[in-house]
């Protein structure tokens, strides 16, 4: 290539390079978005009392609670794959003065995914429900008292504590 041709070529390239194109102009900026999800547990019961009416043990060997089924809503946030547990622990046997009815005579059936039937216990917390990972779960628990001619007359009471754990 002659010097003249090189000069023309270089000049043309420089000229084109100094002419701005008309393509789209853009400006960008980034924002980092963060979310902190903390462990949380929330429990709701449709009734805070369970009452068993007096009944003939022969005709009613099992007395269902007057309140009917209790609706339980257990909500919890936990780590992926971690367990959420709902347990119940009776404070004591049913007592009326010095008379007692063993709390193990109180049982329950359950409905709803993750909810389980069980028997009340005053020393070891019993599982009412268990689930994996976060979520809101709703089920029912229906209490029954095994009736007996052996129970002394009286108005018996006890308390039980539900514990929902979302580690």
């Amino acid at each position: 290539m002659t010097p003249a041709r090189v000069l023309v070529l270089v000049t043309a390239i420089v000229a084109l390079a100094t002419t701005q194109g008309l393509g789209a102009a853009t400006a960008t900026s980034n924002v980092t978005v963060s979310v902190t999800v903390a462990a949380t547990a929330k429990l709701a019961l449709s009734s805070s009392t369970v009452t068993f009416a007096n009944a003939d043990p022969d005709t009613s060997p099992s007395i269902t609670a007057t309140e009917g089924a209790i609706t339980i809503t257990a909500k919890g946030k936990t780590s992926t794959g971690a367990s959420i547990a709902l347990t119940i622990l009776a404070a004591d046997d049913l007592k009326s003065g010095t008379d007692t009815i063993a709390i193990a005579n109180v049982t329950w059936t359950a409905s709803g995914t993750g909810f389980a039937a069980g028997t009340m216990n005053k020393t070891t917390a019993q599982t009412v429900g268990s689930w994996t990972s976060s979520g809101s779960r709703t089920g029912t628990q229906s209490y029954a008292l095994a009736n007996s001619w052996n129970y002394p007359t009286g108005s018996y009471t006890s308390t039980a504590t539900y514990t929902l754990t979302a580690p």
């Binding site: 000229a15 701005q20 960008t28 980034n30 924002v31 980092t32 979310v35 902190t36 936990t78 809101s136």
Partner: protein, 161 residues
């Protein structure tokens, strides 16, 4: 000095030189000048009870922008998420994040996407002075979110086509 003569070849070389020179001397076409600033550059949604706080608002973001040399063209500020909110293997779909913005117009509300750049603001012509808008992002809260520190990034892009 011998008389100058321009041969056919030399005429071609000269014509090329003159053409190139004219390109150099011609006024350069002026591209749009765009300025975009976002503050703060990090926002955090604080964990809250989904029953009492179904929508978690993050601190507001100020968008500052300026568009010049765009006399008759349109401009747009768009948003695109780089992905879902992730914390290890746990994810929160980015579509659970919405935004409101003011003033309207040119700003508008929307829902974040990780596949489509969506308009946050748009207009026509120049914005001679730096102008600001406010954006508030909100996360739809849920009991289904697993515990973790989630993050992603959102790209704000100002374009003048």
């Amino acid at each position: 000095m011998p008389p100058m003569s321009i041969t056919g070849y030399n005429a071609l070389v000269l014509a090329g030189f003159v053409s190139a020179l004219s390109l150099m001397l011609a006024p350069a076409a002026t591209a749009q000048t765009l300025t975009l600033t976002i503050a703060p550059s990090t926002i955090t949604f604080i964990s809250a009870d989904p029953d009492t706080t179904p929508s978690i608002a993050a601190p507001s973001i100020t968008v500052s922008y300026r568009v010049r040399n765009n006399a008759s063209g349109s401009w747009q500020i768009s948003l695109l998420a780089s992905g879902d909110l992730t914390a290890g293997s746990a994810t929160i779909p980015i579509t659970n994040v919405t935004w409101t913005a003011s003033p309207t117009p040119p700003f508008q509300a929307g829902t974040l996407s990780r596949t489509l750049a969506l308009a946050l603001a748009s207009g026509t012509g120049n914005v001679q002075n730096t102008t600001t808008g406010t954006v508030v992002f909100r996360l739809a809260n849920s009991w289904t979110y697993n515990v973790g520190n989630y993050s992603t990034s959102v790209v704000f892009t100002l374009t003048a086509p």
